[in-house]
């Protein structure tokens, strides 16, 4: 949906050119448009208090609405939302002429010049940082866990306007830089003790007795320590235990609540001690260790006073480590080797290589000098590299995507093709959720991204690289709103068939289907009409399909079922439901918003949810919704929402097909605002598959995700051009991805490219 961006002057420019066709335009306007406003709109959108503030009765000339509002009018009329059902509606021919007039006018408004739209500066999100750290440094860290979740805008975590940089995040960015750099360039400070002792006083526990911490209930003795770096450690603990019941006391070790190693039985009784040794991997930094007593027992009646109370005694612990010597990482070795091949194996040369990957462009020599100045007193080389990597990773040049220097007035900015490195970053963030690899940077450096053929070749390479598979998640699942399932818990009484594993499987089904759609060049219509899907044993059971062996995923046919496309996926059917029941309007709203990009109009102020009086009236849900729709205020939305929702009522709140008593009286027929009818979800899927909005919506969502901004009116010509690139007989996801990557919306920007960025080529 188009929404105005604050302060964007292009939208507020006078929209109609003065010229020789002005007269013809206004003749057409008088014939095709003005009568429609007068006959079909002005009753509500007119007079002293026009509905929604739109006085269409008062629009006497083409200049009476600005371009944005023309667009809005076009959208709602085309979608059949306006005029609402039951009011006086234009016939199909009149409507077509009306829309054609707007279509003819709209391209004229941008006066033919290419406008790639704004290129907002945005910060990288957690997924991109995680994958960049993996791809460049070979470290596995979940950046989102360290930095915190990313705010969502336009449905994605790539929206520049939403991705803020609160102070706490900057703090965590520095910690993450430290953590990653010490992992890839480990160095053991000889001043750090290799062995740390912890006496009983170091333990926090229920109590202390003499020289021991005593655990008299099922509980833990915990102590904090500082692990110099990630590595292998050994903890030896002196223990004893008093006895009761028929088993020995058991102790286990936890590191930050993660259980490590085996549970131990403690035979030594107080007076003696037993030494237990655990060896484990531990992340560097502040850690909390806990010796846990797992099987407390109390038997006060036992004849033998020595067998009445089972307690665990912890006398002390010794941590040794890191046990493994700090080893040069493969990444460091590779950096040095590559630097040496280029004739200089110095830390400077290595940091130059590393910086080019992390900052996605060559470092200027002044930037390198400053990095080197930072590291000069560090010794040995691993520490120098570590300090340099921290600075590279903490820098705004790593965390921000800066594409173009904008001048204050966009009208003066002009339009340029993005520099090779800027384009490489755009592509890598879009297709890989990561930074460019060496090959892409080389292509940028050689100018191979400056022409369409070179660009296409890189896009082809990138799409066949396994890294592109992330699109099924980063773009696909997010687009459909599936990640919100994390925060949704179906009610176990209403839906005993659901559990966490079913939920996880349902997400994986959708991910696999999206992966196939995107990378097996499936037609766009398969999104809603596919008669196949991927299931594991859990989903096969949920869907009532042939048994699938445990732990396997199979591609199965759905031809004999009412399930088609993503509308039949348990993930979506669950996430669009309430915890204990389905929500008909919400499912309808999801289809309109996510799949068609035509969210229902806003309910009028004061509009209520289901009317109070109907709740206790004993009416069926359909009857109540119909009553609700009888209110003209409510009808305008619900006439679009409810039929779709009813079509999806074939499935319950976790995506199981309703059957038996549940299916009795189930009515999954519906009539859409434009009068088309369907019976059941299969026919609904066919209608949606043929919606002309579908391909446009798919392309627009790809663009929103890739550009990190909403769709602007100025984008329309370029979007039309992308749609023209698709095979009219069989438009596919693969075609759409490639056409998006080749579009000037991707390759160009308003304004100049970043000054000085390419000077080191």
């Amino acid at each position: 949906m188009l929404r105005p961006l604050l302060g964007l002057t292009l939208l507020t420019l006078p929209v109609l050119s003065q010229g020789s066709d002005a007269r013809a335009d206004s003749d057409d306007f008088a014939r095709d448009v003005a009568p429609v406003f007068a006959e079909h709109c002005a009753e509500c959108h007119g007079g002293d208090d026009p509905a929604a503030g739109y006085d269409l009765g008062g629009v006497a000339t083409p200049e009476g609405l600005d371009a944005f509002d023309w667009d809005l009018v076009r959208e709602v009329v085309l979608a059949g939302e306006m005029p609402p059902l039951g009011s006086s509606r234009p016939d199909a021919k009149t409507k077509a002429r009306f829309v054609d007039w707007i279509d003819a006018r709209v391209p004229a408004l941008s006066d033919g010049a290419l406008d790639p739209g704004p290129a907002p500066l945005r910060r990288l999100n957690g997924r991109e940082i995680t994958r960049a750290l993996h791809d460049v440094l070979g470290v596995e860290l979940d950046a989102a866990k360290i930095l915190g979740p990313d705010p969502v805008g336009h449905g994605f975590d790539t929206a520049a306007g939403a991705l803020a940089l609160p102070a706490e995040r900057v703090e965590h960015m520095l910690s993450l830089a430290d953590l990653a750099a010490t992992m890839v360039f480990p160095h053991d400070d000889p001043r750090l003790p290799h062995v740390q002792h912890f006496g009983p006083e170091a333990f926090e526990s229920g109590g202390h007795r003499g020289d021991a911490a005593v655990l008299s209930t099922t509980s833990s003795a915990t102590f904090g320590l500082w692990a110099p770096r990630t590595g292998r450690y050994a903890l030896t603990v002196q223990l004893s235990a008093s006895r009761a019941g028929d088993e020995l006391a058991k102790a286990r070790l936890k590191v930050d609540a993660r259980r490590v190693g085996e549970e131990r039985e403690i035979e030594a009784e107080p007076g003696a001690t037993q030494t237990e040794r655990w060896e484990f991997e531990m992340e560097g930094g502040a850690r909390t260790l806990a010796v846990r007593f797992t099987n407390d027992h109390y038997d006060p009646q036992n004849a033998n006073p020595k067998l009445r109370d089972r307690n665990l005694f912890v006398y002390g612990a010794t941590l040794e480590g890191p046990l493994d010597a700090a080893q040069e990482s493969d990444v460091h070795l590779a950096l040095r080797t590559r630097a040496a091949e280029r004739g200089d194996a110095s830390a400077r040369a290595q940091l130059e290589l590393l910086g080019r990957r992390l900052w996605r462009r060559p470092l200027q020599s002044v930037e390198l000098d400053r990095l080197l100045a930072l590291t000069q007193d560090a010794d040995p080389e691993a520490l120098r590299m570590q300090v340099g990597a921290v600075a590279l990773l903490a820098s705004p040049h790593f965390h921000l995507r800066v594409e173009a220097v904008r001048v204050e007035d966009v009208r003066d900015a002009g339009t340029t093709r993005l520099g090779g490195f800027e384009l490489a970053t755009r592509l890598a963030l879009f297709l890989w959720s990561s930074v460019p690899d060496e090959a892409l940077l080389d292509a940028a450096a050689d100018g191979r991204l400056d022409d369409d053929a070179g660009l296409a070749a890189q896009v082809e390479r990138m799409l066949t690289d396994p890294r592109a598979r992330i699109l099924a998640e980063s773009f696909g699942l997010a687009w459909l709103g599936v990640p919100a399932l994390d925060q949704h818990r179906p009610d176990p009484d209403a839906f005993p068939g659901w559990n966490f594993n079913v939920g996880r499987s349902s997400v994986e089904e959708t991910r696999r289907v999206l992966e196939e759609l995107l990378f097996e060049d499936r037609p766009l219509t398969d999104l809603v009409a596919a008669d196949w899907t991927w299931v594991d044993s859990r989903l096969a059971r949920l869907y009532g399909l042939k048994v699938v062996p445990r732990g396997q995923w199979q591609r199965v046919s759905l031809t004999d079922t009412p399930r088609r496309g993503v509308l039949g996926h348990a993930s979506l059917l669950t996430v669009t439901s309430n915890p204990a029941r389905t929500s008909i309007p919400r499912r309808g709203k999801w289809v309109l918003e996510a799949l068609l990009g035509t969210p229902p109009p806003d309910p009028p102020p004061g509009a209520d949810s289901l009317d109070d009086s109907s709740a206790e009236s004993g009416l069926s849900l359909r009857q109540r919704l119909e009553l609700h729709r009888a209110d003209p205020d409510c009808r305008v939305c619900h006439v679009a929402l409810d039929p779709i929702g009813f079509g999806m009522e074939a499935f319950d709140g976790i995506g199981r097909a309703r059957s038996g008593a549940e299916a009795e009286g189930l009515d999954t027929t519906g009539e859409l605002p434009d009068g088309r009818t369907f019976a059941g979800p299969v026919q609904l899927a066919e209608i949606l598959a043929n919606e002309p909005r579908l391909p446009r919506q798919i392309v627009e969502r790809m663009l929103v995700f890739a550009l990190g901004r909403g769709i602007e009116r100025s984008d329309r010509p370029a979007i039309d051009a992308i749609l023209d690139e698709l095979d009219p007989e069989r438009p596919t996801f693969g075609q759409a991805l490639r056409a998006v990557c080749a579009s000037p919306l991707l390759t160009h920007a308003r304004g100049r490219t970043l000054a000085g960025q390419d000077q080191d080529r």
């Binding site: 604050l6 609160p166 900057v170 001043r191 800066v402 309430n578 996510a594 000054a755």
Partner: protein
Amino acid sequence: MPKPLSRRTLLRSAGAIVSLPYLEAMLPKGAWSAPAAPVRLVWVYVPNGVNVGEWRYGGEMENPRRAKASEIQDDVQVERELDVLPPSLRSLAPFRSRLSIHQNLTAHHARANGDGPGDHARAAAAWLTGVQPLKDAGQVQLGISADQLAAQRIGDATLFRSLVLGTESPRLSGQCDSGYACAYQSHLSWEGPTTPASKETRPSRAFDRLFRGDGQGLPSEVAEDRRARRRSVLDLVRDDAKRLSAQLAADDRHRLDEYLAGLREVERRIDRAETLAALGVPDEDRPPEAPADLGEHARALLDVARLALTTDATRIVTVMLGNEGSNRAYREVSVNGGHHEISHHGKDAPKLAGIAKIDAYLAAQFGHLLQGLASTPDGETDLLANSLVVYGSGIEDGNRHWHHDLPTLVAGEGGGARPGRVVDHPRETPIADLHLAMLERAGVQLASDESLGDGRAPLAGL
């Protein structure tokens, strides 16, 4: 100079786990000058409004509609003794004399005011800022919130300017409330118009950030090396940010400004770590990694909040007990419908009963915080006596999305507050006036032309 006592030492010598608040003895001389008993500010938010009949003092609202301007009488303010707690607040009975119910406070900018639907996004956005959020799916524009204003003005006295916690993560994808960007529903605290403050949902991580500082327990020369290195990295990165900023157009510079503000805060903390008293909290107080249910989660977060206040790690805390519009089911109290779903109760008795159960459950978690503060000694008295703790929602009745007569409690005697009363404010009194009163009592100085959103003057009758 004698080495300042660490709290840990004190805790140990006390022989038991008692919480010790701000003590002059623990401060190195001249570290900062602070009033003898600093006022702690806490805001606790609950989403989706309440079952008014069970929550409001005196039961059902007398006049449920929004007051017209002509009906508002500014000079009327009625106070009564809080003699009996409404049913949903019964669990707070031990603190009846230490809290007040404030009625008729309004979040005007949570209303549509021409922006159409999206009451949940607006309710959370406007509650602590008094500002109408920009309606846009991909861009946020609001204003600084009361807690962050306090953090910026008086937060320098503590190692952490403020603490922002919540039980629910922001929504991770998809469309949020009616065309608003997702941040509004999940963030009360805003550092500035475009910067929602980070909100920590994991109690153990919040604990580690506060009490397991970087390099703790390292030999001092190693720790000093680390600090020096961290400082030079900060210098370099700040330089990067400044150079970059100079190349950008004005509308992109605010991200770099955020970056620089974040770097300054990190630097401040490195500096302060040497002068502010070392924080020590027993490892045993580290909360569980994965709380079992909402109650345990909420209590663990509130415990971290209490520990932070107790140790003077911060004096300003904001906690969201659920994102606005949250649709989670409260199986903990046998409410199976989604919270948002049933908040549109349509006067349906079972739904109203469900909401009342949720209200009582959430109030009980708040009681856990009050209990913790009341049992923590602070100087001559207890911590609650030096705190102002707000508990409330940006929606009154979820069914109609009303934003007037918001459910609002204020507990504690901080800054000389006199609780134990029911105060009926003039209709349409901005809730921002309450925040202004809290800021005033905590010593936050506002310039004469400065305010908080639609706040007019500090609320009378606190």
